[in-house]
């Protein structure tokens, strides 16, 4: 809310509308943090009620980078509650495929079965996008000894066929690796001889001493052949993830069932490594900062935020704001006496600089679109529930 003197019963001027977007940042405090675009906040003449046309006019999306798995863009003109909903949906509710069940036929490595199975679950997978979207949910029944979970399960009344692994809800991958000494016939080097000669390198002495994610073999089932073949096969995003270490005679023989899930259930299902936003900083120079002060002022910010300019009339160097996007809002300039009352720091409350980094299953920009669509689906679902509630069903 602006200071009392600025309050009136007239609608806000363009300048006031711009001013109310800014959150104040002072040396030790922040101010004007709460949303102020609620009807009634400024008296009856200021129309802050929801208006789709106005929203559509004010909403801006600007991309800063759009690589497959790393997108950065500005979303301008939405409230924090909306931007935060998109972010939360991205992290916890966009479904992805991950290893859920690990069937261990043999594991004589040093790593324990349960630790190993957990490790497998965390390996990010990728594959044909069309196929991944075609896949349905697999509904895992609760453990036989968890009576509470079983009661909740029965109450929900799920379709039993969803709990049977099939080609449209389960992807099978296997991993069979056995470590042995390198031999002249098979590997072109004699591991034991090398060891006697003093080699300490397991890569030289043994074969399969390291188990990597690339050793996972996709086993297509039924219709999966048509979605996940060649380039589109299901595979780890990064083939070089070290899963386990072996020594001669040790072996791992497992089969994994991968299913679709969401990040709220387990972080391994989260489609993003990071999905975050920050508010665009604002720097307002209220009185000219000149000469050596200007140089010092520039050093208070990351490179590129403040530039020096020659004042055409006086010939003095002057500090000007160049690119606030690069600022980290360190508040360093507020610590120096010479800049007192000359600069005002802030952030725009409705300018969200999103950064979405995908784990590699889906493209970052598609993930954001999915998150918006999921929020919409939520709203529509509850519209149906509200209809049912009013009809008394």
């Amino acid at each position: 809310m602006p200071p009392k003197a600025d309050r009136s019963w007239a609608p806000l001027t363009a300048e006031q509308l711009e001013q109310r977007r800014i959150i104040g940042i002072n040396a030790e405090t922040v101010s004007h943090t709460a949303a102020n675009d609620i009807p009634g906040h400024y008296g009856p003449a200021q129309d802050d009620s929801w208006n789709l046309e106005r929203f559509s006019e004010n909403l801006k999306v600007n991309f800063h980078a759009n690589q497959s798995y790393n997108a950065a863009f500005s979303l301008v003109g939405v409230d924090a509650s909306i931007a935060n909903a998109f972010r939360r949906v991205l992290i916890a509710e966009v479904p992805t495929l991950a290893i859920e069940d690990v069937f261990i036929f043999s594991n004589t490595s040093l790593i324990q079965d349960e630790v190993f199975a957990h490790r497998m679950g965390l390996v990010p997978l990728t594959g044909g996008e069309e196929g991944l979207r075609w896949m349905r949910w697999f509904r895992k029944p609760p453990p036989a000894d968890d009576y509470a979970a079983q009661a909740a399960w029965e109450e929900e009344g799920y379709d039993e066929s969803e709990s049977v692994p099939s080609d449209y809800n389960t992807v099978v991958m296997s991993l069979q690796v056995e470590c042995r000494w390198a031999t002249q016939e098979l590997d072109g080097r004699d591991g034991k001889a090398l060891a006697k000669a003093g080699s300490n390198d397991p890569e030289e002495r043994y074969v399969n001493s390291n188990v990597y994610a690339r050793d996972l073999v996709f086993e297509p089932q039924g219709q999966q052949e048509q979605f996940f073949s060649g380039e589109n096969r299901i595979r780890p995003t990064n083939p070089d993830i070290l899963i386990a270490k072996l020594r001669p005679g040790q072996k791992i023989d497992i089969r994994c069932h991968c299913v679709k899930g969401i990040g709220a259930d387990h972080a391994k299902f989260s489609p993003v490594a990071t999905a975050s936003y920050r508010l665009l900083p604002s720097i307002e120079i209220k009185e000219p900062i000149l000469g050596n002060d200007a140089k010092k002022f520039r050093r208070c910010f990351p490179r590129g935020v403040i530039e020096l300019e020659e004042d055409p009339t006086t010939g003095q160097t002057k500090a000007v704001v160049k690119d606030t996007m690069k600022d980290t809002v360190s508040r360093e300039c507020l610590r120096h006496e010479e800049f007192k009352n000359k600069v005002k720091l802030g952030r725009y409350r409705d300018h969200f600089i999103f950064s979405v980094e995908s784990t590699g299953q889906f493209k970052s920009d598609d993930l954001f679109l999915d998150s918006v669509k999921l929020l919409k689906a939520k709203a529509e679902r509850f519209k149906r529930h509200l209809d049912a509630l009013e009809e008394g069903r």
């Binding site: 909903a85 379709d159 509850f382």
Partner: protein, 132 residues
């Protein structure tokens, strides 16, 4: 990434059905006791701050609303309570319906703008990054 983008929060429900038979959805919205026409509390099952805060904002944008707030009464129960009080005898359920509809419209606008901006950026930046 289901067909209709519709699923539950913790243990995902109705997802990628394409030719699956249409199931009756479990009712997840309740009216809490003590509610009247103009001052009502709704309980949303299996919802959290994601929908709660976004919906609270959309409803507060409605000038007919005197008060709107949400809470999650207990952290280990996936239930969201939403309180709506209105001015001048306006129905709280209608206000909730308008809030949900406004949120739907907002999402459509964001999708359109985002897609347009992305396509424009991709056309002018084949490398995917800005030259700086």
């Amino acid at each position: 990434m289901s067909q209709n983008g519709d699923h539950e929060m913790t243990d995902a429900a109705a997802g990628a059905e394409i030719d699956a038979p249409v199931k009756v959805e479990k009712q997840r919205l309740r009216l809490l006791p003590g509610s009247s026409d103009t001052a009502a509390s709704f309980a949303f099952e299996k919802e959290d701050h994601t929908l709660g805060n976004a919906l609270r904002y959309m409803i507060m944008k409605n000038p007919d609303v005197e008060f709107c707030g949400y809470s999650i009464p207990h952290p280990s129960e996936a239930v969201l309570h939403l309180r709506i009080q209105t001015w001048d005898g306006v129905s709280a359920s209608e206000v909730l319906r308008k809030g949900l509809e406004d949120l739907t419209d907002l999402c459509d606008v964001v999708v359109d703008k985002f897609t347009a901006s992305r396509d424009e950026f991709n056309a002018s930046h084949p490398e995917g990054v800005q030259a700086s």
